[in-house]
Amino acid sequence: MKQCCECSSTASSQKEGFENSSDLSLLDPIFEKYKHKAGSLISILQQAQEVYGYLPLSVLDYIAEETGIKAPVIYGVATFYTQFRLNPIGKHLIMLCMGTACHVNGAKDIEEAICDELKIADGETTTDGLFTLNNVACLGCCSLSPVMMINGETYAKLTPEKTRKILKEIRKNDQQQVEEAA
């Protein structure tokens, strides 16, 4: 189970699309901001991930170069915390709550519905790059369980049918947007 975390700010940048991971100069304002603050590596990694959507190796190496922190230490931190992703994710990130309240109220059935509808398992991305599924520990909405969050929006009191409908709707809206753009 992943205890992945997303700020709403991450979710919004997700909608607008991420920056190209080869443009490392985007990191410079972040270094400037944390230059004099002790223990800022995690904050730097968090903001880098907000820019690129994930942490490509080139970005980790550049952070090592700029901060003087040894690269293995940075890899060690980036792999310790579940928030950090070393691979890109789909356009819509589904965070499905697997906390205790949600578990008692049937989160397993919701997971089955998602996996069946999208043909992916926890941590995977659909082949069209549209959805990534991440199981998380608790979204703090336990009174509304079972719960999932997609792009910062919470969907509460889920049933398997309701879940499938929500996913279908997102897919439909997405197709419409693509068609309109074309």
């Binding site: 975390c5 997303e6 223990g39 904050s43 915390y81 697997m98 906390g99 205790t100 008692v104």
Partner: protein, 537 residues
Amino acid sequence: MKIYRIHALICAGGQCISAGGDSFEEALKRAIKEKGLEDEIQVVETGCMGSCEKGPMMVIYPEGTLYINLVPEDANEIVEEHFLKGRPIDRLMWKEADGNFPTLDQVPFFALQTKIVLRNCGIIDADSIEEYIAREGYSALAKALTSMSPDQVVDEVKKSGLRGRGGAGFPTGLKWEYAAQTPSEQKYVVTNADEGDPGAYMDRSILEGDPHTIIEGMAIAGYGIGADKGYIYCRAEYPIAVQRMQNAIKKAKKMGLLGKNILGSDFSFDLELRIGAGAFVCGEETALLNSIEGKRGEPNLKPPFPSEKGLFGQPTVINNVETFANIPFIVCEGHEKFKRIGTETNTGTKVFSLAGKVITTGLIEVPLGITLRKIIYDIGGGIPNGKKFKGVLMGGPSGGVVPASMLDTPIDFESLDEIGSMMGSGGMIVMDEDSCMVDIAKYFLEFTVDESCGKCTPCREGTQQMLEILKRISSGKGAEADLAELEKLGETIAVTSLCGLGQSAPNPVLSTMRWFMDEYEAHIKSKKCIANVCDMK
């Protein structure tokens, strides 16, 4: 200041927003504008009101009418009927078997609570420092700085008997005293807002609903121990809490309640917010401090304790969100008044998040020493759908289950320990006959196996072995010898693990075995899951 005829308080807690509170608020404001009532009716966004399942909700003052489960379509009717004609709307009121409860103070869910920590939640606009001040906010800090010595502050907290609300119940005043007595140029105050118990959200609601109370509590701690710098470590899953906290820090700085020479005194205190990166073990205090330093969030062996050698190697007081939220009350009202609430050795209140199979779920604050029966049946309204109560999970992955036969146990740190459960941070998940106890034990072990940081062997390997056995049992392949093996492993892991995560990881298994051995045996001997949860192949 403008005087309004009516104040409409809309809950802007995370769960009410999730349930559509924003769109209701928009619709209500539009309807008020259409009728030209903007000068008569003020709409205020407040923090969590508590009964989150009934959201979005709104309380209308002066009389305190409570409306629940609101949708945008209700807005026009509320404005026309209630605001214009003075006729409250029955269909939007709180209902129970014995009728409607028109106002908030009549609903048993609210009437049976005692609010210290949540005194401002659901009443003030969390983004307004003025409203916090209007309810005596920052007067405890002012009192401490102008009329108390640092020693007196620590002494007051000590005498109050306040114990840490993060799980272990360590006396807060004592912790402060240790840090105060350790000589050092630089000391720190840290708030643990990592809230790792999966299925609990007390701290979230305090952070979102009354951020200044935490700032005030921390500043008082800083004055007491001689620290001029504080950190709040908040988990990233709580974006609204992060945003309101950041805003609150900014406003407090602007008003001179944080920063240099606070209120004209010699005392300076600055605060920084850090966002967690997703690791349960980071809720453990030494791991959390490592994480603030930008390192992997692995725990250290104690001693030395943080009060001696904490953040960046300096003396540090680290307390839970709810612990700090008690401080302004204690300093302002005095320890005598605080001690009148709760029991002799467990003073004050505790906030619980009540979830699972109970009629009214939500956030409650009750005096310590109350029984679980009162919470579940009187406040929570009992078990829905005529089902049978089976147990309550307390203390999350470190805790245990309290069975029906123990419902009259008083809720205090010692009594819960005795029956193999624990207070924990305040998660309370009610289960009915549809929950399987073997499945619950397996669920928690899956969680700990996943979250074990891997630094020590008993926790890393031992929990894995326990999980394998539980998987066997829950798929109908268990043998009788497995039960003894589980117990043996559990006891070894508990005494040999490095930190609290491993030490308490076997609790959910041992506790379910203690009270629900019949269910384990049914899985093993008759290959049957009574609750029909496990897939017995």
